[in-house]
Subunit: 213 residues, 2 copies
């Protein structure tokens, strides 16, 4: 599958590397192609770097791995025409670290960042997933407790969720819990304060939750 | 132990019944003693019903099992003198259902209801726990997956947390995760939107999360 990753932070790099390793055709969108190429953390991977717009143009699936505070700018740079009709996997969280730790949430409770994206790009099929865990766990669930934990998907387009769930299964996910439409993103994003607290308590991001039922 | 339960909803009734069954001396506080006594759901249990103030007066541990929207009124009725120096187990969630479902959160992100309680009653030792699951799971964790799932405690008083953890172990809890001081209550309360979504998706409250690490 042709997959564009928007964002070159830990999440973007980790997803790009894993998807490429599975044989997908991955392009990584960045604001500054030359600057990103020069950064040391890319030397091991050498993905196809491009502008947000060029990376998105030919993709079938677009992954928003940008930080929540810049997500709307990144998607605007990718371009409405390039996003129309495509699946957008939204990994972002509406966390504002500008005042330090813990961050505050700039969207919450009665709205979510995923719903704001969907409202801004009604022809795009937004699926919220991945945002509830660290990057290493996203791409390699089997590295933790043999994969016996849960990932969520939410979105209004059932076909898009099926496609995304297929990618999750390629990563090794077995417990994929479909929470229904995109309003579920409110809960998925508001989980982050507890995730951050667990991260501090456990001293590692190598954990996840299992919905025991 | 002498334990006061404030609140006669499902959570209060369930906790009262279980604690009494374990041999604790349980009093249940209610706004309307005669009215509560007359309600059918009490016929099976016959706890010691009293006003909020009388129930709290001689207790060693007080459990706030009232709804979030009335919690501050209930604690005021219990009385600052009666709460001073005691352990207050806060089970409440700041959910406002007045506009229908899903509820909105009337405290969130940069504050929590538990912290508001602690600020209003600085001599009381507030411990947040139980609020992340349904009442049946709170009191009988072994009924789900043999108890292989997680409960959290948070609060600024280590001794109070030790006492509360002892009660949790009497209920059968084995994975009690201490998240540190009461600021952790923000994440514990903001978990509720995802809990409510899971409740809707699974069609039951008989689930919980396990922190897999």
């Amino acid at each position: 599958m042709r997959i564009a990753i928007l964002g070159t932070g830990t999440v973007g790099r980790t997803l790009a590397g894993r998807l490429a390793g599975l044989g997908h055709e991955v392009s990584v969108g960045t604001r500054d192609v030359e600057g990103t190429r020069a950064r040391a953390e890319w030397t091991y991977a050498a993905p196809q770097l491009a502008s947000f717009a060029d990376a998105t143009a030919d993709a079938e699936v677009v992954v928003n791995a940008s930080g929540g505070t810049v997500t709307m700018d990144v998607l605007a740079a990718a371009g409405e025409d390039h996003l129309a009709g495509k699946i957008l996997v939204d990994v972002s969280n509406p966390l504002d670290f500008s005042a330090g730790f813990p961050p505050t949430m700039f969207v919450k409770d009665t709205d979510s960042l995923a719903e704001q994206i969907q409202a801004a790009y009604p022809l795009t099929r937004v699926v919220k997933t991945f945002n509830t865990m660290s990057a290493d766990i996203m791409v390699d669930p089997l590295s933790l407790a043999g994969g016996d934990h849960t990932i969520f998907v939410a979105g209004g387009d059932a076909h898009a969720k099926t496609t995304v769930t297929g990618l999750l299964r390629e990563f090794g996910w077995t417990d994929v819990l479909d929470l229904g439409d995109l309003q579920a993103a409110r809960g998925l994003e508001m989980w982050l304060p507890l995730w951050l607290r667990l991260y501090g308590t456990l001293g590692t991001g190598s954990f996840n939750i299992k919905v025991v039922r």
